[in-house]
């Protein structure tokens, strides 16, 4: 957003099908984004070359022509090395840089120390591969640079993103059909949530609450005055809970007790609250701590509304089923709460609420339900009902007329900083986390389905470390970090190198991975460094403790649902 002025992927899904080069950098899309990867597969089958930049040789990397196995947390260094190579090989898109960017000179200077040799030493990637990636990316007709949490779940996640944006600016791999930057979204409608203002400093349509003009527009529509300051981010809330300023929390559709870093600390904070309300479609672990649980409807089948996907496409969702029991639509629950608080809000249909949003958000202004229905979804920005759609963003940067080019994109001058959780003799192994194809996030929604390729909670270990630690597959080991300890069965994965471990976040009930991870947050995005934890592994003969989670939650279910009524 800082670079280009809008927070979203720049390309459409079907653009990747036309790409001739795809880089998955910190993204195991094959497992974590299977639908998106199917679009990528179309390109691959047409002959697109694929690079995978990942500490693990993930399943995505198995599809790649080249895999670059960098050390965890050295993405900025690698990006600088690639950038310097592009510059020194004379492969910079000079016209684009001159017309569309600012800060090039500073960027060149920042790149200068990162020779192939230095970069190779810092990242562990052979120099030759860095060179090949740099040349292929610069020379590609249409290159897609895709990333996900391998980039963002670091203490310097925002810097990582900017490092990749720099490469796109340098080569002009943006703002054209098939060329773009693609941060693939991890959850259904995570894009829509942000677009609709579920970001502490934003009002719907990426309008800042701290901007008076924006704020006043909303105040006029709603007939209220709003505080001019942004709200707290998740990690700021955690701090505020620690400090005792925040005593009541209302959680909607989140399971922080299992999904956030350092889960032991999270659980303690929630238990210490005066009042916790959880609104969800499942009785999650977080809900089991709640004073009140508000059962809501499943948004994809029990309520009306819209979803927005990673390619910024807003799509209508129709109600197909009546919700079970006393479950209510999220909007209706909030309206009823407002009513108890003394505010009488009108009962509105999803379309009426959407029309209100359209009146306030220029990017959505043209998207009437009629248009959304006719076109089967529309990509923002779409200010005019008759207007054209924008398959990709930032085409303006290629305009000949400087007027039309708008705000130029700045190169980001950033520092390479290693992960916070340092390795030492006591914690010599690097643990990184991620997802498996079979399961979704904390498993709340996917754990009920069988899959022949579900491994369950386990710790993946390289063949060399298995030998060194004298482990057999399936043997239970103790994994400890500076914050916690878990028991997990060992699983052999040749995709890992000595010193690197992997655990999936999908099975917190079996193995609470996030009791190991560190809450080292990026200063801007506030995302924690899930991807880099220092751990040790010990052989043990202990069986996995059988925590009777199911019985526990069922027992509570009755009382909490009663409280919700």
């Amino acid at each position: 957003m800082t670079v280009f002025g809008a927070g979203g992927g720049t390309s459409s899904y079907n653009e990747i099908e036309d790409a001739d080069l795809i880089i998955f950098w910190g993204s195991n899309a094959r497992e974590a984004h299977p639908i998106f990867f199917h679009h990528a597969l179309k390109a691959i089958h047409k002959g697109a070359k694929v690079y995978a930049v990942d500490p693990r040789r993930s399943k995505t990397a198995e599809w790649a022509d080249s895999w670059l196995g960098l050390d965890v947390g050295t993405d900025v260094a690698l990006a600088y090395g690639v950038g310097r190579e592009i510059i020194h090989a004379g492969l910079v898109n000079e016209e684009f840089v001159a017309n569309a960017s600012t800060g090039f000179e500073d960027y060149v200077a920042a790149c200068e120390p990162w020779t192939l040799e230095v970069t190779s030493r810092e990242t562990g990637v052979p120099a030759e591969l860095i060179r090949e990636l740099a040349h292929d990316y610069a020379k590609a007709e249409r290159a897609q640079l895709c990333w996900t949490l391998g980039i963002t779940e670091h203490h310097n996640g925002t810097d990582n993103v900017r490092a990749l944006c720099n490469l796109a600016l340098l080569t002009g791999q943006i703002g054209r059909w098939g060329a773009g930057l693609v941060p693939v979204r991890g959850q259904n409608n995570v894009q829509g949530g942000g677009d609709m203002g579920a970001i502490p400093k934003n009002l719907p349509g990426f309008q800042s609450v701290e901007n008076r003009e924006h704020r006043e527009k909303f105040e006029r529509m709603w007939g209220v005055t709003m505080p001019p300051k942004g709200g707290l981010t998740l990690s700021e809330m955690m701090e505020a809970m620690d400090e005792g300023h925040l005593t009541s929390v209302y959680v909607i559709g989140e399971n922080p007790v299992q999904s956030d870093a350092d889960t032991t600390a999270v659980a303690r904070r929630l238990q210490n609250l005066d009042h916790l309300v959880v609104q969800d479609i499942f009785l999650t672990k977080t809900a089991s701590f709640a004073d009140v649980v508000l059962p809501s409807t499943a948004a994809w089948c029990e309520s009306e509304g819209t979803f927005t996907n990673s390619e910024r496409r807003v799509q209508l969702v129709r109600k197909a089923l009546e919700p079970p029991g006393s479950a209510k639509d999220d909007v209706e629950i909030m309206r009823l709460i407002a009513e108890r608080m003394g505010y009488v809000w009108p009962i509105q249909t999803a379309e009426q609420i959407w029309d209100e949003l359209r009146a306030l958000s220029p990017a959505h202004h043209g998207m009437s339900y009629r248009v959304l229905e006719e076109r089967g979804g529309v990509q923002w920005p779409f200010p005019d009902e008759n207007g054209p759609e924008s398959p990709f963003l930032h085409g303006r940067l290629w305009e000949k007329d400087p007027e039309k080019r708008g705000r130029l994109a700045p190169f980001g001058i950033i520092e390479h900083r290693l992960p916070v959780d340092k390795l030492n003799d006591e914690f010599p192994l690097r643990l990184t986390t991620g997802r498996r194809l079979t399961d979704y996030n904390t498993g709340v929604q996917s754990g009920g389905f069988n899959s022949p390729i579900r491994f369950g909670g386990c710790v993946d270990i390289s063949p060399e470390d298995m030998d060194r630690l004298d482990l057999n597959e399936g043997e239970v080991v103790r994994v400890s970090s500076r914050r916690g300890t878990v028991l997990a069965p060992a699983r052999l994965d040749p995709g890992l190198r000595p010193g690197l471990l992997f655990m999936a976040c999908n099975f917190p009930d079996d193995v609470d991975v996030n009791s190991l991870t560190i809450e080292a947050n990026d200063p801007i995005s506030k995302t924690a460094e899930f991807k880099a934890t220092a751990v040790k592994v010990e052989k043990t003969n202990e069986p996995i403790p059988e925590e009777d989670v199911v019985a526990e939650t069922t027992e509570r279910e009755g009382s909490e649902l009663a409280a919700a009524k």
């Binding site: 070359k49 990397a61 599809w63 080249s66 895999w67 052979p126 052999l492 190198r497």
Partner: protein
């Protein structure tokens, strides 16, 4: 590769078999070699590794031939070597009947229970085998099999012993003792296979064109071949421009002999015109229509003829590589062809700079593994490319996007073997053989209850009666009940329709088909409804399952026939089932993707309408 269900490793034997076929082990840990430090930081797979995907079938054959079955570890290892997911390799392995992904003994005998063998005692053979060895099943060492293409020596069996090298042996006519011996002492202990001449009762007769060398020359000797006009056709072709070769074939009005009867010259011309290169030539030697064994006679008795024919075809259409897709049940044909290719290459008839013309042509044999559908012209591409042998939707047609999505000519063995004749005598002379609509000589696979079953060559124009007479007619004291024309996908004709001329236009006028040249005679001892059930079971078994009309229709067809057989007395129920058969048949005919589903109802329909076999009123 991903989509792997276990970390199982291959047995040493399996690994060796795969490495020998694929070359290897590959470099580094990612390709099946030893893992080193570089493997911790880099891997090169992607397109380069996947470009060898077409070797999946070959690798599966290597393991199956060596061990007798394919373990999960072998599936994983093949996936790793070729950068294909193990699940994908499994999907290919389980498509083909000759491969097993379950443990089974090294020795297995496949006993043919198809229609030609049924007419000649396979049921009795199976009953005796069951008594002696236990019920059919791989663990008891013997299995039922669809047509093995040895119909002239029915009942037939194929004995296989896995090993290095494997032993494969066609037995016919098979007896309980021979099957038992093959299992106890191995196929090597059996008496030698009947020589190719045994399939050709006319062998040595004057005037034969396609079969003239069978039984007369040593099929392993290139010198013998050269001494009997061998390579005269190629020399003649080299005197012409490729375009002229194509126009000669076009002028000859040579029609495809595999079953579809498409003009070969037009196929060649449209392929040669495509700008895309490389172009490919594929010889369809997946002769698996029940009752068909004509190509086997050529492949075993005159293999060089096919090599020469393909070289001419390659020259004409500008293909530098040809594939022979040979059915997996023809071990001797495989040996003969492999030898012929090697000999031809040694002497400069194949490979680079053939006969000093500067033109190069390579030939490779790919073995099928027991899937009838792979004889379909696009399924054959998928199979060669290492996929399940599922037909593709057309268009694009093979001449536009065939093998590896490049312009491709697919011709049947017999079709190709007419080409040297055309080259030698010229199109004008060739068209004088046969009739206006059907030129040239034609091979017929004559089997069933006849005195001298075998492959017969006659000029187009002979009648059905003529050919049956050549084969000696039904044995004395019996009467002809019906004839199946064209194979399982063909139609039954009555004993009073023997004057049907065996030409494309002649059979068409009589609502029949020549198909692949099958003429199967059934005398009055044969239970035709049993034959019909076997045909239905065959199609149900062989449907690839890709499209609904065929997948469901072939099952419904068999069920209805079974019900009819069991409820002979209930006329009303029978009437309903016959109507169901008609409905299902029509749907299959109209809406199946490929010829299998489209023709799966032909024989049943003709049995109802022509023979009155299931007559509603009966």
């Amino acid at each position: 590769m991903d989509l792997k269900f276990s970390n199982a490793e291959p047995f040493a034997e399996e690994r060796d078999a795969i490495d020998r076929r694929l070359g290897g082990p590959g470099e580094g840990g990612w390709h099946g070699g030893d893992r080193d430090e570089q493997d911790h930081r880099r891997a090169h797979t992607g397109h380069a590794a996947r470009s060898r995907r077409h070797l999946v079938m070959e690798a599966l054959h290597a393991v199956n031939d060596r061990v007798g079955w394919i373990s999960p570890g072998a599936l994983n290892y093949i996936g790793k070597r070729l950068s294909v997911s193990a699940a994908d390799v499994y999907s290919v392995a389980t498509f083909y009947a000759l491969f097993s992904t379950n443990m089974r003994p090294k020795r297995v005998v496949h006993v043919c229970t198809d229609i030609a063998c049924m007419a000649r005692g396979s049921k009795d053979l199976c009953a005796s085998l069951e008594k002696r060895l236990g019920p059919a099943g791989a663990m008891n060492g013997w299995k039922h099999s669809p047509c093995l293409g040895v119909c002239e020596r029915a009942p037939a069996a194929l004995a296989v012993e896995a090993g290095d090298p494997p032993h494969e042996h066609l037995i016919g006519p098979a007896s309980v003792e021979e099957v038992a011996l093959a299992l106890s002492a191995g196929p090597a202990a059996l008496a030698a296979e009947a020589p190719p001449i045994m399939a050709v009762p006319q062998a040595g007769q004057e005037g034969l064109m396609l079969l003239k060398r069978v039984g007369q020359v040593d099929p392993e000797s290139l010198d013998d071949y050269l001494a009997t006009d061998g390579y005269a056709g190629l020399r003649r072709a080299f005197e012409m421009e490729p375009g002229k070769v194509v126009s000669e074939v076009k002028d000859s009005r040579l029609m495809g002999r595999g079953g579809a009867a498409f003009p070969a010259g037009i196929k060649w011309e449209s392929t040669a015109k495509q700008p895309a290169t490389p172009r490919y030539l594929v010889c369809n030697a997946d002769e698996s229509e029940p009752g068909t064994f004509k190509d086997r006679a050529i492949l075993e008795g005159d293999p060089f003829a096919l090599i020469e024919s393909m070289t001419i075809a390659g020259y004409a259409i500008g293909a530098e590589r040809g594939y022979i897709y040979l059915r997996g049940e023809y071990p001797r044909a495989f040996r003969m062809l492999s030898n012929a290719i090697e000999r031809a290459r040694e002497r400069g008839f194949l490979g680079a700079n053939i006969l000093d013309t500067g033109w190069s042509f390579e030939l490779e044999i790919r073995r099928g593994a027991g899937a009838y559908i792979c004889g379909e012209e696009t399924a054959i591409f998928n199979s060669i490319e290492g996929y399940r042998g599922e037909p593709r939707s057309k268009p694009p047609f093979p001449f536009e996007q065939g093998l590896f999505n490049k312009p491709t000519v697919v011709n049947n063995v017999e079709t190709l073997c007419n080409v040297p004749l055309i080259m030698q005598m010229g199109a004008a002379q060739y068209t004088k053989i046969g009739t206006e609509g059907s030129t040239g000589p034609k091979l017929f696979c004559v089997s069933g209850n006849l005195v001298r079953p075998g492959v017969y060559e006659v000029p187009f124009g002979a009648t059905l009666g003529d050919v049956l007479e050549l084969a000696g007619g039904v044995p004395k004291g019996r009467t002809l009940q019906a004839v199946l024309l064209g194979g399982a996908a063909g139609v039954f004709v009555r004993a009073d329709e023997l004057n049907i001329p065996l030409t494309f236009e002649g059979v068409r006028a009589n609502n029949a088909t020549l198909g692949s040249g099958v003429i199967m005679a059934f005398d009055d001892t044969v239970d035709l409804s049993g034959i019909l059930l076997r045909v239905a079971r065959f199609f149900r078994d062989e449907s690839c399952g890709q499209c609904v009309p065929c997948r469901v229709g072939t099952v419904r067809q068999e069920e209805a026939l079974l019900r009819i057989t069991h409820n002979r007395q209930d006329a009303a129920a029978k009437g309903r089932d016959v109507q169901l058969l008609r409905d299902v048949g029509l749907v299959m005919k109209d809406s199946s993707i490929c010829g299998l589903g489209q023709a799966a109802w032909n024989a049943v329909e003709s049995a109802i309408d022509r023979l009155g076999l299931l007559e509603e009123s009966r």
